[in-house]
């Protein structure tokens, strides 16, 4: 039909339009075919050329390695008494992703199971570092009643689970707290020093003591389970597993019976004692009092309890045996005496007149004996037995500070002993160069005088003192003190070699010199004039000992000590050193009783109790 209108429109031609359309349809089809070809090309690229890459990524998606925690190595004493074991306990875990509203759930959960602010904080810390679909522990060591209560309510808490786990337990409680130490939850500080991969399944880490020092040996190796997981990280099935490798068991040189007897001997007083076998350097007992229950720390101690322990007046967390700095006082006299004989400054039979006062030529200052009027004429034996200051003042001056320092260093004073426990302070061995470096002042002759009786700048730690004494007892055959006896990779496995200890140089001196010093020390215990004769009575073995009373104590033996601010309660420490049996010693012990006022009265009975426990009770047979 043709429109004859006034030219408003062009003529409509059906045939031409049909042809035009066919052309367009054909063109459209070709364009479409070309586009789909491009699309197919893209699939070829993905599915053929990049197939391997994407296959790998699909597997990566679905296969996750789930770490399996290794069980921590056990710690035994030398007779096989358990000091640290693993026990089964229950904890509450939460998977944020499955929970949804974590805050609301914690709120609800708090009504079923007690969750403290500390638990909450720990949880939040972990939540930051873990993936959303990982289990995050919330509360440890659930009570049986709590487990039961949760079981009733668990349908209300999807994504929250009660999970059994192995936790550390210290069956000996406080007795080994300072030496064995404890494990506790990993915190951000720990993360700095540990290898993350090895701890991927582990929640606890050794914080102090042996637990920290031998962390690498105790930890073990993490295992893995290859699991197929969905996008939420939920494990659907296990494809394979590499079991974890338990940590090594440690056998320590400590003797649990001796340790307990040592703790008992303190009877609640503050102080420290270290007992060493002079023949090999094995530490037999190491006590710092007061102590604390390490089990409190394992699953998180409350902030308040911790603050109380940390800042309590007697500072029970402070390991006095290794870190405590004390002025050795008269316990240094046997070493000074030994030095005098060795250097030939005096013979054992040389005598000195003790008038009660000592003066340096041309000086007005007076140094006194502890006994008014003096002790009269004394040789080395009597000087040690009665602890005659005048004898050692003169000896120190004759030897001179420059010879004194290297001689004392040979016994280990002024340096860490290398004990396998913690970073030890060096203590202070007074010397000209030390003073120059520390105070920028020159050395005064008067300072040499008091160095002879273990005062002035001297600072020793109980471990240092015990080590020096053990060296004296072993007649110069110095042995590095150590706690680790052997390791085991399983209960039935043979003992493994422990890391080799670097040897210490032997101190050479004629037998007569050693004997003279020993006899002097025996006289302390067994002669009618001995200062500690009251505590040598009745011993079926001979004891060589020496008391000491320190005027002052320094907290860490470091240089920040300020005499004027030292609190009264840190003064007048009682010290005692002893080894026995005197002729063939098997134990050397150093004891410090804080504010015990007199070494012979307060510390000597503790030392005696330790020696008795070791020599009388241990001999009949092995411990149970």
């Amino acid at each position: 039909m043709i429109d004859f209108g006034p030219g408003r429109r062009a003529v409509k031609d059906p045939m031409q339009e049909a042809n035009l359309f066919r052309g367009r349809a054909a063109a459209g089809f070709l364009i479409i075919a070309a586009c789909l070809l491009v699309l197919v090309g893209r699939y070829v690229w993905l599915q053929v050329l990049r197939h391997d890459e994407f296959s790998g990524r699909a597997d990566e998606n679905r296969i996750k390695l789930r770490p399996l925690p290794p069980s921590r190595g056990l710690i035994y004493d030398r007779n096989g008494v358990l000091l640290a074991e693993n026990i089964l306990d229950y904890r509450l875990e939460l998977v944020p992703e499955q929970v949804g509203d974590v805050d609301a759930t914690l709120e609800q959960l708090g009504r079923v199971i007690a969750i403290s602010a500390d638990d909450r904080e720990q949880f939040e810390t972990l939540r930051k570092v873990k993936r959303r679909f990982h289990n995050i522990p919330l509360r440890y060591a659930l009570e049986e009643s709590e487990v039961a209560r949760f079981a009733l309510e668990r349908h209300r808490f999807p994504g929250v689970e009660v999970v059994p786990y192995l936790t550390r337990y210290y069956p000996q409680g406080a007795d080994f707290a300072h030496v064995v130490g404890y494990v506790s939850r990993i915190d951000s500080e720990d993360r700095e020093r540990m290898e993350d991969a090895r701890y991927s399944a582990t929640t606890h880490i050794g914080k102090t003591g042996i637990e920290r020092y031998y962390e690498n040996q105790l930890l073990g190796d993490v295992g893995y389970e290859r699991v197929e997981t969905n996008a939420e990280g939920r494990a659907l099935r296990v494809l394979g597993r590499v079991p974890s490798k338990p940590g090594r068991h440690l056998h320590l040189s400590l003797d649990a019976n001796l340790q307990r007897a040592t703790v008992a001997a303190f009877a609640g007083r503050a102080g420290a004692a270290v007992a060493i076998d002079p023949r090999n350097g094995e530490v037999l007992a190491m006590v710092s009092q007061p102590a604390f229950d390490p089990n409190l720390f394992v699953n998180g101690i409350s902030r308040r309890d911790y603050a109380a322990l940390l800042h309590g007046e007697q500072r029970p967390l402070y390991n006095r045996a290794v870190l405590g700095g004390y002025e050795p006082g008269s316990t240094i006299k046997p070493f000074i005496g030994f030095m005098g004989l060795k250097l030939g400054v005096r013979a054992a039979t040389d005598t000195v007149w003790s008038s009660g006062e000592f003066r340096l030529p041309g000086q007005d200052a007076v140094w006194r004996d502890w006994k008014k009027g003096g002790h009269g004429r004394v040789d080395l034996r009597e000087a040690l037995a009665q602890s005659v200051n005048t004898y050692f003042y003169g000896l120190a001056v004759e030897v001179g500070i420059d010879r004194l320092e290297p001689e004392m260093r040979a016994f280990g004073f002024g340096a860490p002993t290398g004990l396998d426990l913690t970073r030890e302070p060096t203590g202070v061995l007074p010397s000209r160069s030390w003073k120059q470096q520390r105070f920028g002042r020159t050395w005064y002759p008067g300072e040499t005088v008091i160095a002879g009786i273990g005062q002035g700048y001297w600072v020793v730690t109980p471990v240092q003192l015990a080590h020096a004494l053990a060296t004296l007892a072993a007649r110069g055959a110095a042995q590095r003190p150590h706690l680790l006896l052997s390791m085991q990779s399983g209960i039935d496995a043979p003992p493994e070699a422990v890391p080799a200890l670097s040897p210490l140089p032997r101190i050479e001196a004629p037998d007569a010199v050693w004997d003279a010093v020993r006899e002097g020390m025996e006289a302390v215990m067994h002669s009618p004039t001995g200062t500690a004769r009251a505590f040598g009575i009745g011993a079926p073995y001979r004891i060589a000992g020496k008391s000491g009373t320190a005027q002052r104590a320094r907290r860490r033996g470091n240089q920040e000590y300020n005499e004027n601010t030292t609190p009264e309660h840190l003064r007048h420490q009682a010290l005692f050193v002893a080894f026995a049996p005197a002729q063939a010693p098997t134990i050397a012990v150093a004891v410090v009783v804080e504010h015990g006022s007199s070494g012979s009265k307060a510390a000597a009975p503790v030392a005696r109790a330790i020696l008795d426990a070791d020599l009388l009770q241990a001999t009949p047979g092995p411990a149970p």
């Binding site: 359309f21 367009r24 491009v38 699939y43 053929v48 994407f54 296959s55």
Partner: protein, 373 residues
């Protein structure tokens, strides 16, 4: 009591239909093949949920029923009702903006009995209206006609953009544009308008685009920038496709979907599951079937008896192509992620029904291609 008379009438009707069903059997077979494939993939993608597969089966059945009904209606009837249908659709699109529901977007109308997306109606109403407008005007269209067509497209497209559903808006607009293209707009004008379109992209980016749309484009260009967030879908989809390889992991073998790495693996991303399980061979096969459907549709269009039928049939076929291209391209990381389903394979009711309704119109056009029959 049984109405034997009705039964007899139904029987006669069925017999007559079977003799001459007024459908293009080749096209129907291809559509059924794709739909069947869709159900098979859905069974796997839904982690073997028969209920979901049954549900989708029902929707497809409804869609094919609509197809058969539409196939019996003469194209002239469609043409007559086109302006009303178009007006009705625009009304619904306004209604959905006022009463609609959806997460953050207004796309659904809930009439208690049925819930549906009015934008699906627009996919048919727009090309119908443009074809209606052009059918009694001489071709090629004048600038004036083009302006009128642009207005016809712009109103519903704008309403859909407002929902906001840019993907559907573009798809809907494209179907109208295809009508104009098929109506013989000169290549020079096409190129000119295309150039204008390209030039408008920076303006769109700067002034119109929502931030989420910009993000989608950014993610498309560099999905690894945010692999666990916005880039996740794109990356996981490509991993699914790529890990399928040439022969695929086999039916029920998609780890990406079944372990939930692939999002929306029953709807927009179901083709990724298909690609993972049936590999390149499956992809090429299904795209070949799609191409056949498109080609057959254009063939029917070319044989149609009037301009309206031709334009509408052609537009329906070419729009179908856009679905395939956009969804397939999105899954392969060739295009940004837009909510366009893979026709007859993605889970979802309205889209399947409106698609099959469109093919019903195609069938009708095919059946009525000769005057007087």
């Amino acid at each position: 009591m049984i109405d034997f008379d009705l039964m007899a009438r139904l029987e006669r009707g069925l017999a007559r239909w079977l003799k001459r069903p007024r459908v293009d059997l080749a096209l129907l077979a291809a559509l059924l093949a794709v739909a069947a494939t869709g159900l098979v993939v859905l069974y796997s993608a839904s982690a073997e949920a028969p209920a979901q597969v049954f549900n989708q089966g029902l929707r497809l059945a409804l869609g094919f029923a609509v197809l058969f009904v539409f196939a019996r209606i003469a194209p002239t009837v469609f043409r007559t009702w086109t302006p009303w249908f178009y007006a009705f659709t625009v009304l619904l699109l306004v209604a959905v903006l006022v009463f609609g529901e959806g997460r953050g977007a207004h796309r659904w109308l809930d009439l208690q009995v049925v819930r549906f997306q009015p934008s699906e109606f627009a996919k048919l109403a727009l090309p119908m209206m443009v074809a209606w407008y052009l059918h009694d005007r001489p071709l090629q269209p004048s600038w004036r006609d083009l302006a009128a067509c642009a207005l016809i497209l712009a109103v519903p497209a704008a309403l859909i953009v407002k929902q906001p559903d840019l993907g559907t808006a573009l798809l809907v607009a494209a179907s109208g544009v295809f009508v104009i293209f098929l109506a013989g707009m000169s290549w020079r004008r096409i190129l000119f308008l295309a150039a204008c379109g390209v030039a408008a992209v920076p303006l769109w980016w700067q002034f119109v685009a929502h931030e989420y749309q910009r993000n989608r484009v950014r993610m498309f260009l560099n999905p690894e920038a945010d692999p666990l967030g916005n880039g996740w879908n794109i990356i996981q989809s490509q991993i699914a496709v790529g890990s399928g390889g040439v022969s695929g992991k086999g039916w029920l073998g998609s780890t990406q979907a079944r372990l939930d790495f692939l999002p929306e693996h029953t709807t927009d991303f179901i083709f990724a599951v298909f690609s993972e399980e049936f590999g390149l061979i499956g992809v090429v096969a299904i795209i070949a079937v799609y191409l056949f459907i498109i080609g057959r549709g254009l063939w029917i269009a070319a044989g149609a008896r009037d301009t309206y039928s031709r334009l509408l049939a052609g537009s329906i076929s070419m729009t179908f192509f856009v679905y395939v291209m956009v969804n397939g391209g999105m899954i392969a990381g060739l295009m940004p992620v837009v909510g366009v389903p893979m026709p007859l394979i993605s889970y979802g009711g309205t889209s399947a029904v409106s698609l099959l309704a469109g093919f019903g119109i195609l069938m009708s056009i095919h059946a009525h291609r000769l005057r007087g029959r």
